[in-house]
């Protein structure tokens, strides 16, 4: 078998191992689903009355933002999983085996992607119940979800780099998540960037989260119009920019985390 073939097989063996944990510890999935459902309900019913975006139903506007935030936070569990494996010495065992050097990371990011997929399905049902609809066609609807998962997968590799750097579950639990709060809130996920002061507006417009969210809204027909979309290049080419962001994140963090893994020492 070729090196690439082994990389795929080894990656799948590790993925299966990680999925077994979800199967044996279902609470994990239940609690990672409760939070986004809570967010949908809180924003739809508590903030929904206070936040007005002209020309669009706020609950529909909101869903792309919540999806993106959830997937970004969901990707952060990659850092916890890897830190846990490092701490328990499992990575030492893996590194002493003649397996592909990328398999542990490919396996971890893949199982977290599937985990994210389940959460998104539950959220979609919840969104449909509060009145969210896809107004375009099937192809654009699917393209939206594909973009969402691609973004989640790319975020997992950032998270992998963090997990291999901090080396302890306790630190990963905060280091893996803390930066996501400003990243997801300083964007168009819950508000229109048009409502921000000029310099914050600039930051929020160029925030990759905003590009993904806007791309999803465009693909699903949930977008606001005019200045409420955002400003300048990011507002005009959200899909292209989203794809570029995803590729850029992968180009930097995929090799970086594999390099970290090769040198990873648990203690």
């Amino acid at each position: 078998m070729s090196a690439l073939g082994y990389a795929a097989v080894d990656g799948w063996v590790v993925t299966k191992r990680n999925l077994t944990k979800i199967k044996r510890l279902p609470d994990l999935l239940i609690f990672s689903t409760i939070q986004p459902i809570m967010f949908v309900l809180l924003f739809a019913y508590v903030f929904g009355g206070a936040i007005k975006i002209e020309g669009v139903n706020y609950r529909e506007y909101l869903m792309a933002g919540i999806f993106t935030q959830t997937v970004a936070f969901g990707a952060a569990i990659t850092s916890i999983g890897l830190a846990d494996d490092l701490q328990k010495g499992v990575i030492d065992r893996f590194r002493s085996l003649p397996m592909s050097r990328s398999a542990v990371l490919v396996g971890r990011t893949t199982s977290d992607l599937l985990n994210n997929g389940l959460v998104v399905i539950v959220m979609s049902i919840c969104g449909l119940l509060v009145g969210w609809r896809i107004h375009t066609d099937v192809a654009r609807g699917i393209a939206g979800f594909a973009l969402l998962f691609a973004f989640g997968y790319a975020m997992s590799w950032i998270s992998a780099t963090i997990g291999l750097s901090v080396k302890s579950v306790e630190v990963a639990q905060s280091a893996g998540f803390i930066w996501l709060f400003p990243l997801t809130f300083l964007s168009n996920a819950f508000i229109s960037t048009d409502q921000l002061t000029p310099w914050l507006q600039k930051v929020a417009d160029w925030n990759p989260i905003s590009s993904i969210v806007l791309a999803l809204r465009d693909l699903w027909g949930n977008s606001a119009q005019g200045a409420m979309r955002g400003h300048g290049f990011p507002a005009e080419h959200p899909i292209e920019l989203s794809v570029l962001w995803i590729l850029a994140i992968l180009a930097v963090f995929l090799p970086l985390s594999i390099a970290k893994y090769r040198r990873a020492a648990s203690r």
Partner: protein, 338 residues
């Protein structure tokens, strides 16, 4: 991959040692974890690396298992350099660490199958091998339970079995019994003696003199990254003295009588500690010596404060070899009292 095997390195026939280590140096923040270590382990033998925490044992194993790069020096497994051809080395080694690196949510069977597949044994072979190893390590009954439910001893056995999955010719055991209760430790020694060392080359690190004595053909004593003594267990014990019978008395007047009785049961001259009211003598057979001593001391109407047979501990080894004690926490409770 196979083409790389003929890359100008010595062929197997020309290599006598399964593990070779030459002037190995590893620095952590300017402190020498290893400071020019040399080792040579012939095929099919067991080397015990004995030393306290921080002596460099684990660093040495980590370098040999390709987990860590040395700063200088050379290490090779069956002639293959670990730093330059790590992936080839990984095909020849099995590692079982001191932290029992098994996945707690997988069953024992699933853990071993996973390791087999990552050695690229194939699905069928991996499953057959896993079932076979579980049987040999007395884990068949627990094969389909997540390892979370295993006892400490069972986890270590499973971890050991993991090192054997691909039948590697060279196996590293890093402190295989640290943290286990005495009963599990004895069980694991049997397992290693009967089922692990058969036909393989084994390098084992330990903090316990007794463990190295039980399992190793040769012992290297490590202190601060250098080897301070080498030899067979018997040679080392000869240098530091074997077991000692120690008697403490209530009345100082009895010391002379005790000394003459112990001279009769021991293999050397007794030493008398007037201040501590103790007499000690080296003995060959601990049970016979203790029985005989108690009988004669009782007949002589000596009132005893304490009597024990002490095995040489790591501290004794260190005091003898270096003049300084091994660190406190590494030697607690290992002085096999009788």
């Amino acid at each position: 991959m196979a083409g790389k095997l003929s890359g100008g390195r010595p062929t197997l026939a020309a290599v006598t040692a399964a593990i070779e280590v030459e002037r190995l140096v590893k620095l952590y923040h300017d402190v020498h974890a290893l400071d020019g270590l040399d080792l040579e382990v012939p095929e099919g033998t067991v080397l015990g690396l004995l030393g306290p925490n921080g002596a460099g044992k684990t660093t040495c194993v980590r370098i040999l298992a390709t987990l860590l790069k040395p700063d200088s020096g050379r290490a090779a497994i069956r002639g293959v350099d670990v730093a330059r051809h790590p992936q080839e080395v990984r095909r020849m080694i099995g590692l079982s660490g001191q932290y029992a690196a098994v996945d707690e949510y997988l069953t024992g069977f699933e853990n071993l199958v996973m390791i087999g597949r990552l050695y690229h044994l194939g699905r069928k072979e991996s499953r057959a091998r896993a079932a076979d190893l579980l049987e040999r390590f007395d884990l068949t009954g627990a094969a389909n339970r997540p390892t979370k439910t295993y006892s400490g001893g069972m986890r270590r056995r499973l971890d050991l079995a993991g090192a054997l999955v691909a039948r590697p010719p060279v196996i590293f055991l890093d402190e295989p019994t640290t943290g286990l209760d005495p009963h599990s430790r004895l069980g694991l020694w049997d397992t290693i003696g009967d089922r692990v060392r058969q036909g393989v080359t084994l390098l084992l690190t330990t903090q316990y003199m007794e463990e190295a004595d039980q399992l190793a053909d040769d012992i290297v004593v490590l202190d601060r990254g250098v080897a301070i003594a080498r030899g067979t267990p018997d040679e080392l014990k000869g240098r530091i003295g074997g077991e000692r019978l120690e008697v403490a008395v209530v009345r100082r007047d009895d010391l002379a009588a005790v000394a003459s009785i112990l001279k009769g049961v021991g293999t050397g001259e007794p030493t008398v500690d007037q201040e501590g009211r103790r007499v000690a003598v080296p003995v060959a057979d601990r049970v016979a010596a203790l029985t005989e001593a108690v009988r004669q001391l009782d007949a002589a109407d000596v009132e005893l404060a304490d009597i024990e047979v002490r095995r040489p501990t790591l501290d004794d080894v260190f005091l003898q070899l270096t003049g300084h004690a091994a660190t406190e926490e590494t030697t607690g409770g290992e002085g096999g009292k009788a």
